[in-house]
Symmetry: C2
Subunit: 197 residues, 2 copies
């Protein structure tokens, strides 16, 4: 990669366009198209501002936002992987790490290092900031399914207990958010989006 | 609006889904659909991290991000207005102010006040943070037009000088970003997206 510092930055910014055509499993309101990872990332970033009072300890919101805004850009090369397809999620780990090197490697070295560190922190899920980010990333699809009345998720054959198993870490972070998430889950089961059991 | 504090916050978060179906004038890469205001907001928020070194004075990046992430949510009620349709832009001002009261009014009062203040700061465009946010908001569509090779913008009959007139405030903020923007503009004129003149 050659070019001036600003050219490298702008090439990275151009490249981000590609996340707008990485589509997720869930739909959007009143439309047949699926949600893409760019608008999903926007949604959880706004949520970070709205729900910060539910963090049990102080979090660096700038750090949270950086993680949320870039956590999915590896999908430009590695694609989106369904949360419940654990086999594929394990298999794609290496491809995602390579994708992170490639896409953040478009930037000048200092910024590459900075974004890579944020991406790895999110993936490791150990800091309070990474845990809050993971909570938001997992809460938003539950809200989306319920609110958009989208029945495409029903075709995945998910049960209430399977969703609870995947999402219960939300409760370790915030009892209030988990209690709310369970109400949303009940509503989604009633709507036929997930099966009882 | 009744309900507990968390219910109000979640109702606002649900409502944000609607920004994903507010479509802008420009397209996205390789697709026939237009860009929506949610993914546009995500794009400029990442840009805020990447280009912060071009701010001539220190900026509070958390403030910039808050403005960028919520500056367009009034469009849920007021719709997107084409940058070059000044008559419509003037006419829609009042509707946008009402929309801001309505949508941020879904939140608890303290958060309503906080988001309204950020939205008004962005609209006023006076602080360094608001000016940086406006630069990003105006730079991204120029990059998008050029990079996506989308010719739908050509139908708007825009000329190089009209675009320059609207965007030249970028140069007051950063000579380097403006110099780059002018190169992108040249390329877009070559591609037939804007007319010479």
């Amino acid at each position: 990669m050659v070019g001036s510092r600003l050219e490298r930055q702008m090439n990275f910014i151009f490249e981000l366009e590609r996340l707008k055509v990485v589509y997720r499993q869930n739909g959007i309101l009143g439309e047949s198209r699926h949600e893409n990872s760019a608008e999903h990332s926007w949604h959880i970033a706004v949520m970070a501002f709205v729900l910060r009072e539910y963090c049990g300890e102080p979090v660096d919101i700038e750090r949270v936002l950086k993680m949320l805004l870039i956590h999915d850009v590896v999908e430009i090369h590695a694609g989106d992987t369904f949360l419940y397809d654990q086999e594929k999620r394990d298999a794609v780990k290496e491809a995602e790490a390579e994708a992170a090197e490639k896409i953040f490697g478009m930037l000048p070295d200092d910024q590459k290092g900075d974004f890579l560190a944020a991406w790895r922190e999110f993936e490791a899920g150990e800091t309070a900031e990474a845990r809050y980010a993971a909570v938001l990333d997992n809460l938003q699809p539950m809200l989306n399914h319920c609110f958009t009345d989208n029945l495409s998720i029903a075709g995945k054959g998910l049960t209430r207990s399977r969703v609870m198993e995947k999402k219960k870490f939300i409760g370790d972070f915030s009892g209030e958010l988990w209690e709310y998430a369970l109400k949303v889950l009940d509503e989604s089961v009633k709507k036929g989006q997930y099966r009882e059991g």
